[in-house]
Amino acid sequence: MARVAIQTEDFDTGAELAALTSGRTDIGGIGCFVGTVRQTAEGVALAALTLEHYPGMTERALEAIAAEAERRFPLLGCTVIHRVGRLDPGANVVLVLAASAHRQAALDATWFLIDWLKTKAPFWKQEVFADGTARWVAAREADTKAAARWGATQAGQEAPG
């Protein structure tokens, strides 16, 4: 039921919403989150963000995360799209959509999907600066905590290698 995609090109949130909901009359609410590239990383201006991923595993991880959301919440559909490659400031990075009969489940699932995606899907961000230097973004403790509030993992757990 979930639509999952990893792509270099931009996504069209309006078109994705329409694809998720058109012709349906059982949906009462759709939660949505769009993540975008901010110009500034800790006070330093970004030239771009480069997103690397693990082809094959990333698709599996996103499908497992979406399946877990469908197991936990009474969803009538969900969409997860993540871009990879070089992204300019202001560009879209990630789209999450979750549809349900009621707003509570739609918004809970949206939040769950983005929290888990941030900590369980194999993407790595690199910040590229105006002088050509680059820096890999460190994982944020706050993201780990945000994911942890959803409890035990079913869609794969990270452990030190």
Binding site: M57, H82, L117, P122, A139, G161
Partner: protein, 89 residues
């Protein structure tokens, strides 16, 4: 009995940069029967490998595209990936 374990090893993000390759096919010794033992052996392969695994506690692993702990068993033909904690979204 085969004395070696043929594996495909992948590196991502700064691990890839330190090792210098994104992918390598290795014939690990039979002693490399889990992820932790494989890392012990990989560290001896080059200064780049040693640098990549200098802080083992921050390195994450997947075996056949599933997250795996250091004690996860390895089998001939496995795809073993090493990478930093993920930072997507």
């Amino acid at each position: 009995m085969d004395e070696t374990l043929p594996l495909t090893v992948l590196y991502f993000a700064w691990l890839r940069e330190r090792v210098g390759v994104a992918e390598e096919r290795v014939a690990a010794p039979a002693s490399a029967r889990d992820v932790g033992a494989l890392v012990d052996w990989l560290i001896g392969r080059s200064a780049g490998h040693a640098a990549a695994f200098a802080r083992r506690d921050v390195v994450r692993c997947a075996v056949n595209q599933e997250f795996a702990a250091p004690e996860a068993a390895l089998h001939a033909g496995d795809e073993v990936a090493f990478f930093p904690p993920v930072t997507g979204g």
